[in-house]
Amino acid sequence: MTSTVRSPGLAESINTTLADLLEQDPRLLLLGEDIGRLGGVFRVTRGLQERFGRDRVRDSLLAESTIVGQAVGMAMSGLVPVCEIQFDGFTYPAVNQLVTQAARIGGRWNGQVSPSLVVRIPTGGGFRGVEHHSESNEALFARAPGISVACPSTGEDADQILRHAVTLGSPVVMYEPIRLYWRRNTPVRDPEPARSPTSARIVRRGSDLTIATFGAVTHEVLEAAHALGPTVDVEVVDLRWVAPLDMDTVLESVARTGRLLIVHEGSKDVGIGAEIAASVAEHGFDALRGPVRRLAPDRRAYPPADFEKDYLIGVQEIKDEVLVMTK
């Protein structure tokens, strides 16, 4: 039943987009650990330093606060820095510069500076990573006013998001699922484009239940939805951005289906799902035929690789949850 499509991996797609952006805008530069000579630990920036030179594809010092802090200064000088943090678990030393500085510079300058500054962060598990290499900390930044947070699940979406982010005039953190970097076969999705670069995308039309999701797990959700096809007709909303959230698309979908399940890989407590559930309770309660539910890991640290299958949300769990909700 599940049909798949073949596409370039996420790493290759983002590489193509970054090359094109560097080609088009002389103010744009890349900044990150090992992104130049090596082409990044995931090879997302492979070949870009050879092509655009060391000034524009910069091997940064091994210090995350330095990466984002100097990027803030570069943005003040009129450049458009696109930073790479090596793994999500190493984001934390840069949080101060992102939350207290990058996010607030525009306001502090009374709008005189509009820093277009992008921070790309490889994220998520499912590839047997060691400690700190498999985390999902997008909800942390979603709470910080002034920072937009994108979580694309395809190269096409990452392309649209990046092109928008470098013109936004305020910082964007983009999470790139590591397990999608090299994955070429993914479940088929509706070709319908998003309404705007910042809106969610309905990637499967359905009538019985809405699943709102984002990032790598979107593919498990689609696989589950396709497999359930004969019995339950599931609509899948790929949020693409978790801050700001496109609640209009979610509410319109829930108005059609009457049921909402939220699935994400970051832990459940005080997570993105809680915000969506609260918003639907406030603005879409009358459309609901049953309680909103969330499917996400419990509040605990990402486990050693041998146990990650127990942590991650799989296709079977999604199917089971949908069947319980539509029984």
């Binding site: 210090a63 330095t66 100097q70």
Partner: protein, 279 residues
Amino acid sequence: MLVARGIDEEARQLQKQGALDLWLSCQGQEAAQVGSALAVGPQPTVFPSYREHAVALLRGVAPDELVAQWAGRTFCGWDPRRLRFFPYTLVLAAQTLHGVGYSLGQRLQGREDFVVVYVGDGATSEGDMSEAMNLAAVESASVLFVCQNNGWAISKPADEQMRTSVAERAQGFGIEAVQVSGQDPEAVFSACARAAAHVRGVRAPYLVEIEVGRIHGHSTSDAQEVYRSRDDIARTRAADPVTAYADRLAGLGLVDTAWLDAVGAEVRELRERLMKEYA
């Protein structure tokens, strides 16, 4: 220095009256600030911390613009771009990395890349300061770090904050550095002029550590009498660089009573205007 002292004193009064929410006095640091700002001239972009009021005034920030953020009206009361005096940064040392990044960005675009970063002794304990010094050294950025060491990080004395001078620490990063007394604006001017020549000529960073006295508490909410000896505070007041320099110039016959009276009148006028707008 006299103007900065007058504005600072007026801001302290306004805070006592409830017109300002907080004021971070720069009294005792005027020679360091005026000497360094005059030495680098109007061209470099300044990344201040939050106590560089004398530098701000020299750069053309009007007194009412200077106190606006302390009255809760805005996060920055002046035009940072036009004055090349960037907004105060209250998260300690965060601006040090911005300054280095800005200088690198300017250089990449073929524009003036001389940047002056002000930082206090307490803030040098922050990781960002070490990261900024290392980055500036590695990239050979045209950044002059001016560290005003007033001996106190609120209540923690500098000798409990660090085992070497800030200048020695900078040298460890491969940055040329010098330590100078902030008592005499002319000595500060000379040291900073040499430092600026180095930054311009070699296109490499430099750090000047200026030892200053902190006449008042860290802020108007601080009670330094709780942790600082009466003698120490009295000694700092007695060594006030503003009165010392005015007395010296008068003693040398370089300024006369008429000149000092004229400055006094100007300061009174500025203070009155500030009081009218905020009190």
